[in-house]
Symmetry: C2
Subunit: 205 residues, 2 copies
């Protein structure tokens, strides 16, 4: 999560304000207690504007999920790194930071609050599948480049990336559902060992 | 998940029947649409019995979560294995099976449906923390034994176990939120490689 949080762009635009209000209401009340009324309480303009934009809570939440996941995409480290190993370590550091900022925790909480609904809603599943795919492909590209550079061994880049992304997701999910940062730290340290023993070619370890 | 599913013991006992009704209602409607009315629709006895046992939905769901997590505990492979490597592989195979049975998927869906509420409810967080701790400790014991047996290298058993449990949870969560089994297969295969390259002592690889 960047320092400006997920609402940095056009903060006064109505769509962004509705998204921010949804985020605040979800953060305060959780998914099961979320109502348009409570979203309206966090919205600086007239509540009727929310209804002008969305037919109801379900439509609003799908738009919100799309908004969150776009922010997530924009936030995965993609700057050009010359060294694939350094790039992969940055992805791991970004996903499993030594400490989780308040904004980052609130963001993860919001993404995870809606995930439980996915098995019952295809639109949600598509959103989670899209972001999963994006994160995995981005990571697989880095591993693929590392193999070309002779830094990484000839592993299956898709499989290794799927594994790394599952671990990062799992530890973050445990973090927000147990309130304990330890799962993130254990996963981070051991993922570094995985990179060293499984991915790096012998002479680079 | 064992073949009998989570309701094998005393299936006609009222408490088990309420738990089963909650499970069925949650499976059909998801968390956000869950009501006592809908739980009552799945319950073979009078709905008033549910109110005799629980003050409301929240109390019922906490009892349900406890019930699920007890079943989860009972299901983690704990039989005595002579070989720590074989035991660890059984834990991985159990957590990340080649294919997910219908019962196992429904069970995971139910556990994950309630997880999103955890950041907002300390009782939920405690339940998720308990099961996380149980799973991690059980796995750490196996790794510890493998080190003693000279099968595994001298890694930090707690850290390695935390990593394995985070990966298993992450892949299962991705499985039910995307509807795609591929994350489980990728995590399974690469976790086997992790065991080989990171845990096993050189002469056993």
């Amino acid at each position: 999560m960047s320092d400006q949080g997920p609402f940095a762009s056009a903060p006064n635009e109505t769509h962004t304000q509705i998204m921010r209000a949804t985020y605040e209401a979800l953060r305060k009340h959780g998914y099961s207690e979320l109502t348009i009324q409570r979203i309206g309480d966090e919205f600086p303009k007239s509540k009727s504007l929310i209804y002008q934009h969305y037919d109801g809570k379900d439509e609003l939440l799908v738009a919100f999920l799309e908004f969150l996941l776009e922010r997530f995409r924009a936030d995965v480290p993609t700057e050009e790194f010359d060294d694939a190993r350094e790039h992969l370590e940055t992805i791991i550091d970004h996903g499993l930071p030594e400490s989780l900022g308040e904004e980052d925790e609130a963001f993860t909480t919001a993404v995870e609050a809606l995930r439980g609904q996915a098995p019952h809603d295809e639109t949600y599943r598509e959103q989670y599948a899209r972001i999963n795919e994006f994160y995995r492909e981005r990571t697989a590209d880095v591993i693929h480049r590392g193999i070309e550079q002779g830094v990484f061994r000839e592993v299956d880049p898709e499989q290794a990336a799927g594994f790394i992304v599952a671990t990062i997701h799992g530890a973050r999910s445990q973090r927000v559902s147990t309130g304990d940062h330890e799962p993130v730290l254990a996963a981070r340290r051991e993922l570094e060992e995985y990179v060293r023993t499984r991915l790096l070619v012998e002479e680079n370890r």
